[in-house]
């Protein structure tokens, strides 16, 4: 299961994650606070330029990530078209696409580990409320480790269902999948305790 980071590396990969995240916050805020459509057009153009600057393959990959917005393009098109407010529709769309484009740019140029490191750092203030950063790191690692295990198990259950039914088994497999997860959790917790457990936070 691969992360959404783009490879090979581009110059933007070299920028540190916190800087990119802060820039992203600034840009997104600007997009939604500056009321004129110019912000969207200018920033949208900037996003396009940045993608293009990283190479045409990168640009194409970036455009693909915008596919999920199609339903909303249609909805907005119908809505504003029916009201005769094309300008309004285009501006909202431009703002939306620009925001998503910049956000995806950060995702494509930042390795998963860096993002996780940022996340853990953001949780720092919660230490005072009892959150144990060791538990958080461990939880992240375990989640990543088990996602492919459960995905493979889901595939196997799908096949087991297909072996006895010509119908779709997509709902039937949720139960055994969940049960397997609960059983695994008990076993893994035991194994963890046997290896010393989670280090207390202090």
């Amino acid at each position: 299961m691969l992360a959404l980071t783009y490879s090979p590396q581009t110059p933007l990969h070299a920028l540190s994650a916190p800087i990119k995240l802060m820039a992203l916050s600034g840009i997104t805020t600007a997009l939604f606070i500056i009321p004129t459509g110019w912000a969207s057009m200018v920033l949208g153009g900037a996003a396009l330029a940045l993608y293009a600057a990283m190479g045409s393959a990168f640009l194409r990959a970036g455009l693909r990530t915008l596919n999920g917005l199609w339903p909303f393009v249609v909805v907005l098109g119908l809505w504003h078209g029916w009201q005769g407010d094309w300008d309004g529709g285009i501006l909202i769309l431009a703002r939306l696409i620009t925001a998503v484009a910049f956000a995806n740019l950060v995702t494509m140029t930042t390795p998963l580990q860096d993002m996780i490191a940022c996340l853990v750092r953001l949780l720092h203030p919660f230490r005072r409320l009892g959150l144990n950063p060791n538990a958080v790191s461990l939880a992240i690692a375990m989640m990543i480790r088990f996602i492919p295990v459960f995905m493979a198990r889901a595939e196997q259950l799908k096949m087991a269902h297909r072996a006895r039914s010509h119908r779709s088994g997509r709902w039937a497999i949720i139960f055994p999948l969940a049960l397997g997860m609960l059983d695994d959790a008990d076993t893994v917790a035991e194994a963890l305790r046997a290896r010393g457990g989670i280090t207390p936070k202090d």
Binding site: M159, R162, R164, G169, L179, G180
Partner: protein, 234 residues
């Protein structure tokens, strides 16, 4: 009773650019068929192709002229499969429901299915299991449940995909006796030649291709030699 005719026609399967099965071609009429090979030789993938669970990249599997991948309704009454790990196979919380399921899928009504479930459980002397939680069964008991679930659908062929994994010796023995007593055609996938010594036909799969086909006497000694001298972990 004539044995079902299993026709594996030039079956190849690739995942991406990895070739897993290459041109598997065999016409099988025997009642007891064994498939041996190292881990990674493609045995499990072939098992799944035989049952119509995955689509070959090219070629097809037919049993008595039924296209097993396409004609699912008839396929599930032709061939069933017992997986390695019963936890990957059992879908329902209680034993009764698990066996009922297959019966409903082949068209029985709920009362009919329940009747046949009772018959199946009674045949194996486990009628008291009917309302038991599947989760409370031991591994060996779960395998037996999986077998009963398949037998209830009255297939002509049953694929056993390394069904003894993780079972203790007495359980293997008992389950093995059950398998031998079955009237169906069995296709037993294993990397342990001892369990298929008395079979009628052995296919030896190596790196996705049929390396040898023949009787146990013809194939197994050479297979054992190869296993004893093979180096490298799979």
């Amino acid at each position: 009773m004539k044995n079902p005719h299993i026709s594996i026609n030039q079956v190849s399967l690739s995942l991406g650019d990895r070739s897993i099965l290459c041109d598997i071609d065999a016409q099988l009429n025997d009642r007891r068929i064994g498939i041996v090979g190292r881990n990674g030789s493609g045995k499990s993938t072939l098992a799944r192709c035989l049952c119509g669970l995955i689509k070959p990249t090219s070629g097809m599997v037919q049993i008595d002229d039924i296209d097993i991948y396409k004609d699912r309704k008839r396929a599930i009454q032709k061939i069933g499969i017992l997986f390695q790990n019963p936890d990957h196979q059992i879908i329902y919380p209680t034993v009764g429901e698990e066996i009922d399921f297959g019966l409903r899928q082949i068209g029985h009504t709920a009362p009919q299915a329940r009747d046949k479930t009772r018959q199946m459980l009674a045949h194996f002397d486990t009628l008291d299991w009917i309302d038991r939680q599947t989760a409370s069964l031991s591994q060996g008991q779960k395998q037996l449940l999986c077998l009963m679930s398949i037998l209830a659908m009255e297939p002509d062929v049953i694929v056993l995909d390394e069904p003894f994994s993780g079972l203790d010796i007495p359980t293997r023995r008992i389950l093995g006796d059950v398998f031998q007593s079955l009237p169906q055609t069995l296709i037993h996938i294993t990397h342990d030649p001892a369990v298929i010594e008395t079979y009628d036909r052995i296919l030896w799969l190596d790196a996705g291709q049929i390396h040898r086909v023949g009787t146990p006497e013809q194939v197994l000694p050479e297979f054992m030699d190869a296993m004893m001298t093979a180096s490298g972990l799979t």
